[in-house]
């Protein structure tokens, strides 16, 4: 018997090696029946679970949009909360299908990690938060400050660059989890809390007295945040990319989750193309022609998602600013569906 073990082991090895992941991500997702989406461990407005474990946020809506495009059902998503450190490995190894987790698009991440950024769903920049009683009005007055932040983010590098460029001494205190950063800053361990400006507004809500803290005017970096997929599967890359584009285009055309059914009867050819009334744009990405209709029906257009999660009427109270449509003086400009 024993002399048969080795051939068996080797044979099994060859077999596994040969059958290594030949299915596309779309086929895998369809077989599973849901999209596995990587999100943060809790960043209000972007990806945050409530007491019942329902995830909401701008980044979460994008995942729900992808699920709606694939299945016609925005709830066919499962979420994997990931730390900054784990996120790319989880995507590379196939543990998640899409990473939608306030992740900055940088060249090294796009080229060295075997990943592709599918667009930008929030134009952000890094800012500083301080106690009002410090009497600081500009980031250039922060010489000698101690700075609390998260490990393993672009934030850490930007702080180092900024303080060095302005030859200001500083002390960095970097924590693994955002909650610990907030706790340490709240306890007074640091003078400054730094992360992406959107994150500052979100985390300020967790402080004991949010009103005692202010965000300084300086934005020291470009942080285009967007969804990420694995490199080498263009079809899935296209689905992620065009889900985001469909949400932005829908806002531009005035298509909302409320009026999307009426809009199907619109005379506007670009609306017809978007909603699958004309043309066969869905087939090209392996989906039904009503893919964009399902996205908008399921999660609404970009503006709706923004207003519901981070907009002026939410606790975060973030103005559209540069995240407005190009036609309103912002940066959002999606290629047309045609």
């Amino acid at each position: 018997m024993s002399n048969k073990i080795l051939p068996l082991v080797l044979g099994a090895a060859m077999g596994v090696a040969a059958s290594a992941a030949n299915a596309t991500t779309l086929e895998d997702v369809k077989a599973k029946g849901f999209v596995q989406c990587g999100v943060s461990q809790g960043l209000p407005g972007f990806s945050n679970p409530d007491a019942q474990g329902n995830w909401t946020g701008l980044d979460v809506d994008l995942c729900r949009g992808v699920a709606a495009a694939v299945f016609g059902d925005a709830s066919a998503v499962k979420f994997t909360p990931l730390s900054a450190k784990e996120r790319f490995t989880a995507l590379q190894s196939g543990e998640i299908d899409i990473l939608s987790r306030n992740t900055t698009w940088t060249m090294s991440r796009d080229t060295q990690l075997g990943l592709n950024f599918a667009g930008v769903n929030y134009y952000d920049g890094q800012g500083f938060m301080v106690r009002k009683d410090l009497g600081v009005t500009s980031a250039l007055e922060l010489s000698g400050a101690s700075v609390c932040t998260n490990t393993g983010t672009t934030t850490e590098l930007n702080v180092a660059d900024y303080f060095r460029a302005n030859s200001m001494p500083y002390e960095i205190v970097a924590f693994e989890k955002a909650d610990e950063v907030v706790a340490a800053y709240d306890a007074g361990r640091c003078d400054v809390y730094t992360t992406d400006a959107s994150g500052l507004y979100a985390q300020r809500l967790k402080l004991t007295n949010p009103a005692d803290h202010m965000v300084l005017p300086e934005i020291i970096s470009k942080e285009p945040l967007g969804p990420v997929v694995r490199q080498g599967d263009d079809q899935w890359f296209n689905i992620a990319k065009w889900t985001l584009n469909a949400m932005i285009n829908a806002e531009e055309m005035g298509v909302t989750s409320a009026n999307v059914d009426d809009m199907k009867g619109s005379d506007n050819p670009s609306v017809k193309r978007l909603l699958g009334v004309e043309g066969a744009y869905g087939e090209a990405i392996g989906l039904g022609n009503d893919w964009a209709y399902n996205v908008i029906k399921g999660v609404g257009n970009y503006g709706e998602s923004f207003d519901a999660n981070v907009g002026p009427d939410t606790p975060l109270g973030i103005a559209r600013g540069v995240n407005a449509l190009w036609s309103n003086g912002g940066f959002l400009y999606a290629p047309p569906v045609r």
Binding site: T89, S146, T151, R164, P169
Partner: protein
């Protein structure tokens, strides 16, 4: 069944080879080793192939690239322009520092508490018992958080301080500050004097042991040693013209709010992350060491102490000369495990922002995406540290072992 391929020994003994237990044993072992090697090779080749297929860069070349992030505590030269490799070395030394200081403190506290548990004084033994039961049964991570967050909120803020020991040490939320000795030109002689004092102390100890064996007279070795270790460097210091001054922490009480408090880089500062981690690790591991010490002492038969008392030894010398040396044989092996635990537990530093190997490595992992390489470095370093600790403790154990006469 085709044994011919494996069996090159020849035809005549084939039948007996099949039933020869030695040959069969060899064959099974060889098969197992080949299977293991094949499995390992398959795992490695599969990983390499997958990395290539996904266009993920691999290899250790990234260690030469510029790190670009700051580290709060570095024992070796480090700036933002240093390489990733240098950053990992900084993390390694921080881990080593916590491990060494933690082991030292945990051993002292553990021995004191362990002996206190056996005290005849009811209050002392109960206190030691409560300490062990409380600390041993609360998860370590919670204790680290307790020392960091609960204590952080209890001490004064950055613009304030508690001073003690005649105003030389100050504690606030930014850490424990004290005077930092600054060595000037010609201060090398002080270091040499210290080395000489230590060598002399050992020599005196050997000489006194020999003399005691020959004549029975005792010599105050401990006091002499301490005297030399303090005295010789002091004499050298005065002799060299006092080439050393202290850099005192500067505390600013006026001016803009942010400028108040201790100036960065003035005096000597132990950051609160380091204090919390070292305290938590020492106190936690000490509880286990206390139990090991108690078990070791109780393993020495009661007749030994009675015999020592009969010879006229008082309680202190009985414990020091008779009980503890015999108890050590029981104590050392489990003590080694506790030392290894403490070293490995120091990786919890990442939770409270102390830049140890895991914390810094994690940052590098994230900036470069080289997960497999970084995790390989982590495993290699912890494994090496643990094996070195084990090797040292095994050597010490052999020295302490019962010598057959």
């Amino acid at each position: 069944m085709s044994i011919q391929e494996q069996d090159s020994a020849g035809a005549p003994a084939r039948a007996s080879l099949l039933n020869d237990p030695k040959a069969r044993g060899l064959f099974y072992q060889a098969t197992l080793i080949i299977a293991l090697v094949a499995f390992g090779w398959f795992i490695v080749s599969n990983t390499v192939e997958n990395l290539e297929r996904q266009n993920i860069a691999s290899g250790f070349g990234f260690l030469q690239n510029t790190a670009g992030f700051g580290i709060i505590q570095a024992l070796v030269d480090y700036t933002e322009t240093s390489s990733y490799g240098q950053a990992i070395i900084v993390g390694f030394f921080n881990t080593l520092l916590v491990a060494v200081i933690g082991i030292f403190l945990a051993t002292i506290i553990g021995f004191v508490v362990g002996i206190a548990r056996l005290s005849n004084n009811w209050v002392i033994s109960r206190l030691a018992y409560c300490y062990v039961e409380l600390i041993r049964n609360v998860p370590l991570l919670l204790q680290i958080f307790f020392w960091y967050f609960a204590v952080l909120r209890a001490v004064p803020g950055k613009r304030d301080k508690w001073s003690f020991l005649f105003d030389t040490f100050h504690l606030n939320i930014a850490g424990l500050r004290g005077p930092q000795p600054v060595f000037e030109e010609g201060s090398g002689i002080i270091g040499w004097a210290l080395v000489l004092a230590i060598v002399l102390a050992f020599a005196v100890a050997r000489w006194s042991r020999k003399r005691q064996e020959a004549t029975g007279q005792q010599f105050p070795v401990f006091l002499t040693g301490i005297g030399m270790i303090i005295g010789l460097p002091l004499i050298a210091y005065l002799f060299a013209g006092m080439p050393m001054h202290f850099n005192y922490p500067e505390f600013v009480e006026t001016g803009p709010m942010l400028r108040r408090g201790f100036t960065l880089g003035s005096g000597f500062n132990l950051i609160p992350e380091f204090l919390a981690l070292t305290l938590a690790l020492s106190i936690y591991t000490a509880a286990f060491i206390a139990e090991i010490v108690r078990a070791g002492i109780q393993a020495v038969s009661h007749g030994q102490s009675e015999a020592a008392h009969a010879l006229g030894l008082r309680n202190g010398p009985t414990l020091r000369l008779v009980i503890i040396p015999q108890a050590m044989r029981v104590i050392i092996p489990p003590l080694t495990s506790q030392y290894l635990n403490l070293t490995k537990n120091s990786s919890l530093a990442v939770a409270i922002a102390f830049p140890d190997l895991v914390s810094v490595g994690g940052t590098v992992l994230n900036q470069t995406g080289q997960a497999i390489e970084i995790i390989g470095i982590w495993m290699f370093v912890y494994l090496t540290l643990s094996l070195l600790t084990s090797a040292f403790m095994n050597w010490y154990n052999q020295r302490m072992a019962l010598v057959e006469r």
